[in-house]
Subunit: 296 residues, 2 copies
């Protein structure tokens, strides 16, 4: 019966993706543009029914994951504290019954405690999907708020968020570092990227707050060209993420999951740090959901 | 005669300050609101004459320092590379003769070379003014782009810029970290500031890009209140500056020069790092100019 073949909705800030499973695994996938920030008037039920209303019945086992479970989403769920297994996540779902009897199961986020409190919602499923059962790895999910997730023998042992993508964007768009950039220039400058990474990885004094400033001072002193700034700055910021990430769990295998171009940048930065990273399966989310479904 | 008693103009982005010296030292000081970004149509000569026209003659020895000597100012000067003395700075002035015979002497900035290129324009004079002749100290000038200046026996041995003030502003105003802040709340939270500093000073993994994120995750997990965010985030950012600054020149005396409230924050952060900092003379700029004048 349907209740053993779940429907899983990965509902983030910008995107909506839904997956239906049957006895052989994934049977259908649908996408919509209705990320939680784009749902008019907060009518999440309307958006869900518009996308997958024909899948839903009283017997459906529907899981929702991602920012839809956050304070700005539909139903805010608590956090499962690391270390956490997939079974721990399922044990903490928050159920909501719709008027027609359809039951929705909102998954918890994953958190770690002070003095370095941290949170994620959604990436944990991708991390489970990226690592074979019972294997151990660092799964790196680059992005606005990158996540480094330590998966050990089927559980998330620990994780760390870094505001890398957002940092790059605010520095480029809102700080003095962006002012020397020619907005018409879009040529890739891989050598500038590598220089930025190398400065970040070095033991050069000054740290992050100084190293980013060299994107400006380097141009003023002729050590960089203005067209180098975006890739150089990207290298400094990603290099700092990689340096700190590798401090958390040195010597382990790293698997990168995410946008292809961004993952390639991280692979380069990790190589400069002496780490050969694997680019993980782009379908880690689905693989994670398949595992979640299998943990009936 | 006048040529031995200089006029010195400290002309920055936001402010204009002019000092006239005579045989006994400073004889008169004038201020104007015409920082270089506020000079209509780039008429710097008009702004100078409006403020101190009655001081100027063919015999005047007029020095200009600060962002007026930058690419966005009146006359762009080169940089003196550290290590640099006051005499080195005077040796590299760029002269400009006005139509009526008044000669202006634009001072160079100070720079350091790649792989950690760095620049300053104006702070070097304050650093000279903050340290007794032939003494050695670290002079810290907190601000938008804080400077840590190593003064050794009458010369600037080295220095380091950190984008601390600008970082705090862009994170608060343009990143997700600002979104939980209640704009109406302005209560000071010194305990939150100290917690932020302590996280930054600790060897906690994750580094800057993670530590700033705890301003958000801490609130989501109940470890911080939303009203703590501004002071906590200020503590994290200043704490990182202090941690890196002390790596550059550990164990030396630190003198703070700058805005009283900001200097007090830095004094607290330095104390948490075990360093008893002196709050320097607010008139370090004038003291520096007096030294410059004396090096006739």
């Amino acid at each position: 019966m349907g209740q053993h073949f779940p429907i899983i909705v990965d509902w983030g800030t910008s995107n909506f993706r839904a997956y239906r499973f049957d006895a052989r695994g994934l049977s259908e996938e649908r996408r919509a543009e209705t990320g939680i920030l784009k749902v008019a008037g907060g009518d999440f039920e309307g958006a869900l029914r518009a996308a997958v209303g024909d899948w839903l019945s009283e017997e459906s086992e529907v899981f929702l994951s991602g920012m839809i479970t956050s304070r700005n989403g539909w139903v805010e769920t608590p956090y499962a504290f690391a270390p956490a297994t997939l079974a721990d996540l399922k044990a903490q779902v928050v159920e909501k019954r719709l008027d027609d009897g359809v039951t929705l199961r909102f998954l918890p986020g994953v958190a770690r405690r002070a003095p370095r409190p941290d949170v994620m919602r959604g990436e944990e499923i991708q991390a489970f999907g990226a690592v074979a059962d019972d294997a151990s790895a660092i799964v790196v999910l680059p992005g606005t708020h990158s996540k480094w997730v330590m998966v050990e023998h089927g559980r998330i042992a620990d994780f760390c968020s870094m505001m890398t993508g957002e940092m790059f964007a605010v520095l480029k768009d809102h700080s003095i570092l962006g002012r020397l950039i020619d907005p018409a220039a879009h040529e890739a400058r891989p050598a500038a990227f590598a220089r930025g990474v190398e400065l970040a990885l070095s033991s050069a004094p000054g740290g992050f707050l100084n190293h980013i400033f060299t994107a400006r001072s380097g141009v003023l002193l002729g050590a960089l060209e203005a067209a180098d700034i975006p890739d150089y700055l990207s290298g400094v910021v990603i290099g700092h993420e990689v340096r700190e990430g590798l401090r958390i769990a040195p010597g382990r295998g790293v698997t990168l999951i995410g946008d292809e171009k961004l993952a390639a940048r991280y692979k380069t930065a990790l190589a400069l740090a002496g780490i050969e990273a694997a680019i993980g399966d782009q379908r880690a989310t689905v693989a994670g959901f398949e595992k979640l479904a299998a943990h009936g």
